[in-house]
Amino acid sequence: MAEAVVQVQNLTKCFGTFTAVDGISFEIREGEILGLLGPNGAGKTTTIHMLLGVITPTSGAIRVFGLPFDQHRETILNQVNFSSTYVSLPQALTVEENLRVAAGLYGLDRVSERIDDIVTRLEMQEFRSKLTRRLSSGQMTRLSLAKAFLSEPKVLFLDEPTASLDPDIAAKTRAMIQEIRRTTRMTVLYTSHNMREMEEMSDRIIFLQRGRIIAEGTADAIKAECGETDLEEVFLKFAREPEAPVHER
């Protein structure tokens, strides 16, 4: 079995009296794509924010590459990147300028070569010199993905990465993620509300509800456990249950 690259133990985040993430534990192994599923407000984004170090956990531990996150933030974040539909890049900069700034933040070499490569792979040539504020939402998402792939991270957090892409670019993006994962053994944490995509992309799925893990396993195992044939039905079942039981993992 591959080595665990991301280890999360009893991770909890409270904002005042509200518990956004409630003692979750999981691992992501090298080269694995782990899908994080759950309704809005389930704690998916807060979990990703804690894994990126922009929110401090209330309790629990995060280890990446075997290193405690709070003591090795810089070393870890040099090898981690993210893309989110909900986070934009500076609008007054061109696509290429944004990528150059990102390259500087991660201390990358061969910057022009890397940018040429990622721009070609994500079919961004025609808007490479365009101001970010003039991009369509699909182009904006591709820029965010290009920023994430540019540093060739070992761990990638993708928060609904294909939400605003047309089916063609979305399929190409998924294929690219799979290809990069295959060739570099990149570890990916993936969230999406598209159940078909989740099944296609994820080796394993964690289902979160009200900050707690209520199901974990392969898509087929979760469907079987819930007696459903469709992951969407599983999602609706969990999301509509007032107090879903916590499944043994």
Partner: protein
């Protein structure tokens, strides 16, 4: 601290000036208008000069130096606001960038702003009012450096407050510095202040700079004591404020504010 990350953040802000006319206006137009208005007021007042040796030197010198402090503060605060407005804080702080590197980049940017603004104001003063600020002598240089550091102190304070309390307090980016103006004794000596306010002004490093500037003009000597006070207070405040900024940063991460500021 890694220079490549500081340079990346610097380039991110310099790209903005490449094609943004309003941003260029901010560092050329406003200092120009400020100096022209104050220049004419000074010329008018000079008609009534009696005991004061030179209105032009006092007022225009003071105005140019005040602009140094103001732009140094803006260099830090506006750079942070640019990140808030473009909702870029998440991209920055989910990268290996450290808060200290963020501050270092904004401090370097503020020096670039100060140099540009000073170039404009010095030229306007020279061509419109035949006032050469360099006639005040090289002794002004360490005072100018101190004004930049005071500007950084106010900039770090303002930025920390905006980070912590969000865009509701955004107005502080332009307003807070003027709270310090009356006790900076920019256009008048500290002695005109009431005694209780003088004690507060004494704790303001900028007040010692402007007192020093007036001593340079009136006596031609080098006011070591003013410089030492200013340096000491600046060192103390800057160290304390950088520590406080890191604490605010940690509080914002605990409260999840870093990803919400700007929403």
């Amino acid at each position: 601290m890694k220079f490549h990350r500081i340079a990346a953040l610097l380039s991110r802000h310099l790209y903005l000036y490449k094609r943004s006319f309003p941003r260029v206006m901010e560092i050329i137009y406003w200092p120009f208008v400020d100096l022209v208005i104050w220049g004419f007021i000074t010329l008018y007042l000079e008609r009534f000069k009696g005991t004061m040796p030179s209105f032009v030197t006092f007022f225009l010198g003071a105005l140019i130096l005040w602009d140094v402090l103001f732009r140094a503060q803006q260099g830090i605060t506006i750079s942070f606001l640019e990140e808030v407005w473009s909702r870029n804080l998440m991209n920055l702080f989910a990268s290996p960038l450290k808060p200290s590197e963020f501050l270092a980049a904004t401090m370097l940017l503020s020096i670039a702003k100060v140099v540009t603004v000073s170039f404009v104001t010095v030229l306007v003063a020279l061509f419109f009012y035949s006032f050469n600020v360099f006639l005040l002598g090289l002794s002004l240089v360490p005072f100018i450096v101190n004004l930049i550091v005071t500007g950084w102190c106010i900039g770090v304070l303002t930025t920390g407050l905006i980070m912590r309390y969000g865009q509701e307090v955004e107005v502080l980016a332009w307003g807070l510095v003027f709270l310090f103006q009356p006790i900076s004794c920019v256009f008048y000596p500290m002695s005109v202040l009431p005694e209780w306010l003088r004690a507060i002004a004494w704790m303001n490093p900028a007040a010692h700079v402007f007192e020093g500037m007036r001593r340079v003009i009136t006596t031609g000597g080098f006011p070591v004591q003013d410089l030492l006070w200013s340096m000491g207070l600046n060192a103390l405040y800057l160290a304390a404020l950088i520590f406080w900024f890191h604490r605010m940063f940690a509080v914002c991460k605990e409260k999840g504010l870093l990803v919400r500021v700007g929403e």
